[in-house]
């Protein structure tokens, strides 16, 4: 039995889109963002509704090829396609980007040719050592973002920032508590459910997601699935549409941990506010468990090691997007540093290889079982 039926999740999304439409009529601004490194707290405190635009599919990617070469990141291409076709994307009154990888860094310039809404790009230093000048520069970026949002909404976000941080901390803690149940054998929560919830958490109101989690928090194992090989999921961003691949994986494997930006990395840590909430946010986001693009990214491996040890992981599913250099360059390092079998899945959102993928997953599961 699923923790939350997928139909219900789809329904919640639809309801939320309808609600956002109503809110926009009342003058509320919706701000779309694309990356884990965007401080959602700032958006919300500034009186706007943050929604993470994490959808990706092949038809939208093909539309994006009107503006980009075919060898551009499928998520970037898909984003361009969706900006003109997806009802959720079309709700956005402004967009916030981060210069995460090279392709996302350059995407705003192309987006400006596609839609006529304000766009803000946060410059996050790609080097991850937290030297004071790097942190200062990132803090300055957050101040600029706050000004950008103030112009958009007319609201100064600073007074409400601490309470918003607290709200998001509660959300992260709730998700984390749920996620930690995956340590059990069999895990009471599926990996796909965690991914669903994180995507919901970046779309719905925090309190609604917290309530949903507390209602559904398993006090005893609810998934009476047979013991499956325990795997960790790593790689590029997973979108709502990747659910199909995840479901396919879960027929043979138990996803007991992940290091995905639309998964565990969203909630693993909370923001610690001492004095200035904006400084606290700058510290938090600068020092997040790093995405593969940051240099050095050793902490990503430390985190992965910890999950592997805690959750008795037997293998790694490494799912990347075609031409996603930051993650594709790390495949071999995952193999050598983590010393576990790795199944690498490269995708451009097309589903033409679905049956081949099924065979590969089955073979990988067999191999793990026989070990």
């Amino acid at each position: 039995m699923a923790l939350i039926e997928y139909k219900k999740i789809a329904h919640l999304r639809e309801e939320r889109i309808a609600e956002l439409k109503r809110l926009r009529v009342t003058g509320k601004k919706v701000v779309g963002y694309f990356c884990l490194y965007v401080p959602v707290e700032v958006i919300q405190a500034s009186g706007a509704v943050p929604i993470r635009l994490a959808r990706g599919d092949n038809s939208a990617a093909l539309l994006g090829e009107r503006h980009l070469r075919p060898d551009a990141c499928p998520f970037c291409k898909s984003t361009l396609g969706k900006l003109t076709t997806d009802p959720l994307y079309q709700l956005a009154d402004a967009l916030v980007f981060v210069n995460t990888c090279d392709m996302m860094r350059r995407l705003p310039e192309v987006v400006r040719n596609v839609v006529d809404i304000p766009v803000f790009q946060i410059y996050l230093p790609r080097t991850a050592e937290d030297f004071p000048n790097r942190l200062n520069e990132f803090l300055r970026q957050l101040e600029k973002m706050m000004n950008f949002l103030k112009t958009l909404t007319g609201v100064d976000g600073l007074p409400r920032l601490t309470s918003t941080i607290t709200e998001y901390n509660r959300l992260r803690q709730a998700l984390k508590a749920l996620d930690e149940t995956r340590i059990q054998e069999p895990p009471p929560v599926k990996g796909s459910e965690i991914l669903d919830l994180v995507l919901l958490a970046t779309l719905l109101k925090s309190e609604d997601v917290i309530e949903l989690i507390s209602e559904k928090m398993p006090h005893q194992p609810v998934n009476s699935q047979p013991a499956l090989p325990r795997v960790l999921l790593a790689g590029s961003i997973l979108t709502e549409e990747d659910r199909r691949t995840i479901t396919l994986l879960e027929k043979e494997l138990a996803i007991v941990a992940d290091t995905i930006c639309t998964g565990t990395r969203f909630f693993t840590e909370t923001v610690e506010v001492k004095d200035d909430p904006l400084i606290a946010l700058a510290n938090y986001y600068f020092n997040l468990i790093p995405c593969a693009f940051r240099r050095p990214n050793d902490r990503l491996y430390d985190f992965t090691h910890k999950l592997i040890a805690e959750r008795l992981v037997q293998g790694i599913i490494y799912k990347t997007l075609l031409y996603c250099d930051p993650w594709r360059f790390e495949v071999q390092t995952h193999r050598t540093k983590l010393q576990l079998p790795v199944l690498e899945i490269d995708s451009d959102y097309s589903e033409k290889n679905y049956q081949q993928l099924r065979t590969r997953i089955e073979a990988f599961a067999e191999m793990l079982k026989s070990k």
Partner: protein
């Protein structure tokens, strides 16, 4: 700027010549001239000589030279000898007690800081990206692939292969890796090099944003201070402001001569495109020996000015005028475009930041940071397009060639954008293709496309006249 040459040898009338023709011509160069040119000057040691015909370097592995065409001047021969001798020069540097510092990904400014340390030799492993083409060998690329780099990425992955092989440059005394406003491919290469060597200083290269840049400059300066501290620890030498200013002065001289050479090449066709690309890339790291590089640039400039005065264009001035975006890893492409009747009059090889003079009136590190921040890769694609538009307008470019790389992160995002801007603003036809993997010759498809593009440009010119 002008330095008088004192060579008892007179160049033949300017021309592009083949590999074999250089062999014949080399016989006519007196021995005393051959022995005159040494790297790490002042130095007359036998091991420091580098003036050899292309044949010598082809024997040692640079097979592609056999297919290129070369400028027939002594200055150009010196340029080729110096460029091809870099591997030997780097090993020799370490043997004679110099510190060899690898600079990765910053495209310009860090090499200036490093060269301020008297016994430090900066070099760019990035520039090994065309080695697989020069050698007509995929060994370096394959080695990088074995370490996990996907096949569809920038050829700069050859740098990782070179680190693994230990025979293309010595193991550096220090590796400085810059990342930030750079491409993902090379950032990935750097990350794997860091794992391989365990000895990397990471430097942030920030985005250039349109608002006040003073704090970004501050960030860069603080990054440079860390680099300097490491270099001081490595060498035991304290970097003074005077040393830094002298380094800037030398770099500015390189940039000034390069700018003049570019101007003469674009307007008077004094050198072919491959030689000009080598000259531009010299601004990055001076081919690991700034003193001799400056001597060579003076020699090239004298040749260029002489040719200008005596109307000795190396290519017909009436050739089709081309702008070129992104340096082709395969130099044969530039030769081919010239063989088909074009000459290059505008370039955006992603290293324009290394061509602009560094301001003298500012504190040295601030001045270097400013020059860094105005790099082609730090800004927007529209700004790169503007660079091309300005040059193309000035030099009457008739078409734009964009040579990209399959899977290269910025090519995938920028090529179309820049091509569209140039097409819209100047009405220029644009030809875009990806540089195929190293081979003995250009693939037929690309050749056909270049040929057809030239036909198009020719017919447009006819229609205009």
């Amino acid at each position: 700027m002008r330095q008088k040459d004192n060579f008892s040898y007179q160049d033949p009338k300017s021309a592009r010549i083949t590999f074999d023709e250089w062999d014949d011509l080399f016989d006519q160069i007196p021995d005393n001239i051959i022995e005159k040119f040494c790297y790490f000057p002042p130095n007359d040691a036998t091991w420091a000589k580098y003036l050899f015909p292309p044949q010598t370097f082809a024997i040692y592995g640079a097979r592609h030279l056999r297919r290129l065409k070369f400028d027939n001047s002594l200055a150009a021969l010196r340029l080729w000898g110096f460029v091809n001798n870099e591997v030997e020069r780097l090993f020799r540097a370490q043997q004679i007690g110099k510190k060899v510092i690898a600079v990765m990904g910053d495209l310009g400014p860090l090499a200036i800081i490093i060269s301020a340390f008297p016994e430090c030799v900066p070099f760019y492993p990035d520039c090994w990206w065309w080695t697989p083409f020069a050698m007509e060998s995929r060994v370096l690329l394959k080695t990088a692939e074995d370490l996990g780099i996907p096949e569809a990425t920038c050829y700069s992955r050859a740098a990782l292969g070179a680190f693994v092989k230990h025979s293309y440059f010595p193991d550096p005394d220090l590796i400085i890796a810059a990342t930030g406003a750079s491409c993902d491919d090379y950032s990935g290469v750097q990350s794997l090099v860091a794992q391989l060597t365990g000895n990397v200083i990471w430097v942030e290269t920030p985005l250039r944003q349109s608002d006040d840049i003073s704090e970004t400059i501050e960030l860069l300066v603080s990054e440079y201070h860390r680099v300097i501290k490491s270099l001081e620890e490595l060498t035991g030498i304290r970097l003074t402001e005077d040393l830094l200013k002298q380094a800037i002065q030398r770099a500015n001289l390189v940039r000034k001569i390069t700018a003049r050479l570019r101007d003469l090449a674009f307007t008077h066709a004094v050198f072919p495109a491959v030689e000009m690309m080598l000259i531009e890339f010299g601004c990055l790291h001076f081919y690991s020996d700034i003193t001799e590089w400056i001597n060579i640039l003076h020699h090239l400039l004298n040749t260029a000015e002489h040719r200008t005065r005596t109307n000795q264009a190396v290519l017909p001035l009436s050739s089709l005028h081309l702008a070129w975006l992104t340096p082709p890893a395969d130099p044969l492409l530039l030769c081919t475009a010239e063989d088909y009747g074009a000459r290059i009059v505008a370039t955006e090889y992603v290293i324009n930041q290394a061509l602009a003079p560094i301001e003298n009136s500012l504190p040295p590190l601030v001045a270097i940071a400013r020059s860094h921040l105005f790099g082609s890769l730090n800004g927007t694609s529209a700004e790169r397009a503007e660079l091309l538009i300005r040059q193309s307008t000035k030099n009457s470019a008739e078409g734009l060639i964009i040579s990209g790389l399959l899977g290269g992160s910025h090519c995938a995002m920028e090529s179309k954008l820049i091509g569209d801007i140039v097409r819209d603003r100047l009405g220029l036809p644009v030809l875009e293709f990806d540089v195929a993997p190293p081979n003995r010759e250009i693939d037929r498809q690309t050749l056909t496309r270049i040929e057809a593009f030239m036909e198009l440009l020719r017919s447009r010119r006819c229609a205009k006249s």
